[in-house]
Every structure is written in C-alpha cells, then in structure tokens.
C-alpha cells in the first residue's frame, strides 16, 4: 500500500509496532516505537501528549528522512506497558 502511494508521487511514513513484518514490505520511511504493543501504535489510550510526540516523530522522518527502507527505532519512556 505504501509503495502504491509513493508511486503516485505522494511521500509516506509508517508507524509500526511489528518491524519484522513491516520490513518485508520495504517501507519507504517507518518509525518503530520500541516496546509498544499491538493496538497501541501511537501509545496508551488518553496519552495525548505521547501520541502527539510519536506522530510528530513519524512526520519528522519526512523532513529528515533516513535511507529509504530504514525502520527508525525510538524509545518512549512515557509509554506504560499494560
């Protein structure tokens, strides 16, 4: 899906909690919040500031892109494991 959108000339960035699976699709840009569980891609429910930080970190990969295909790992100490 990401590939099809990029081929339309629109840049994309993915947030993934499953980097092994995402890597197989060779994402153009991707952020992996380390330790976030499935169903918490942006963080915990109600944690608006954390969600905002994760989202802005993802969008920042558009402005400061790593090498295409790289999944950038980032730690978020504010994330509370259930």
């Amino acid at each position: 899906m990401q590939r099809a959108i990029e081929m339309e000339g629109i840049p994309t960035v993915l947030i993934t909690v499953d980097p092994e699976q995402s890597w197989q699709a060779r994402p153009s840009r991707a952020l992996h919040p380390v330790g976030f569980k499935l169903g918490n891609s942006l963080g915990n429910p109600g944690a608006t500031e954390l969600q905002k930080t994760v989202l802005m970190d993802a969008l920042d990969l558009l402005v400061h892109p790593p090498e295409p295909g790289t999944i950038v790992k980032r730690e978020y100490p504010g994330y509370a494991l259930p």
Binding site: R3, A4, N44
Partner: protein, 137 residues
Amino acid sequence: MADISRYCIPYTPFTGKLESSRVGLVSTAGVHMKTQPAFVLAGDNTVRMIPADASPELLSISHEHYEHSDAARDINCVFPIGVLRELVTEGRIGSTTQDHICMGFSQAMREIREKTSVEIASLIRRLKADAVLLTAG
C-alpha cells in the same frame, strides 16, 4: 501501477514544510463509521472513507487480529484522527485531507497489491494529500 521488483523501494521525496502540508491518514486498523458496513472479520479488501472531522463516538472497529480494547476507549491509539486535528490547531501541520482511509484485516496479498492499494493510492491523490501517515493495529 507499474510493475517493479519488490526489492525496489518506491520513494517520493518530501519537499514542502509540515506547517503548510495537507496530511492524510491511511490505516489497516479496521476503523469505520458506525453508519458504514462493518468489515468482514475473516478478510475484507474494501475500504472506508472516514471524514477527518468525525467524532470518536461515531467510529467503530471491526478487526479480530489485534487486541483493540485500548483503541475502543481511544481511537487515537491506532487511528490518530484527533491527534492530527490537534496538530492542525497548533499549526504544526497545515491541514488534513477531508477524509481519511481505512481497511480491515486481509491476507489476500495479491488482491491488495494489484487492486486495493491502487484504489487507495488513487483516492489519496484525489484528496490532494501532500503526505500520508500509515498505521496498522
């Protein structure tokens, strides 16, 4: 879509500024409006257009392949529709697309690659997105 090796990584540079960009959201988290048909849980390659100004209580999740009790409490856990609106209000992104796009669970990879992805790419182009954020569950 042109047929390219799966080892190639299609890559469009982002040349604008976030503060003046229109950002679209595309997700496979199974989110839809309560007024729209639910996704078929065993597998569904159809898409739902979700108005970017939709209130969370108007949204539902039809997806059995991730634990979505947190997302049922706060849809932004997987589908950051409200966070994007806040970023617009704060001036950190220019705007969002009028609609966002979501699909549900599917393992029909060939159909996704050859049909659904092309449909979504076409929709997002018509929504005039400058950039797209993708999320899963």
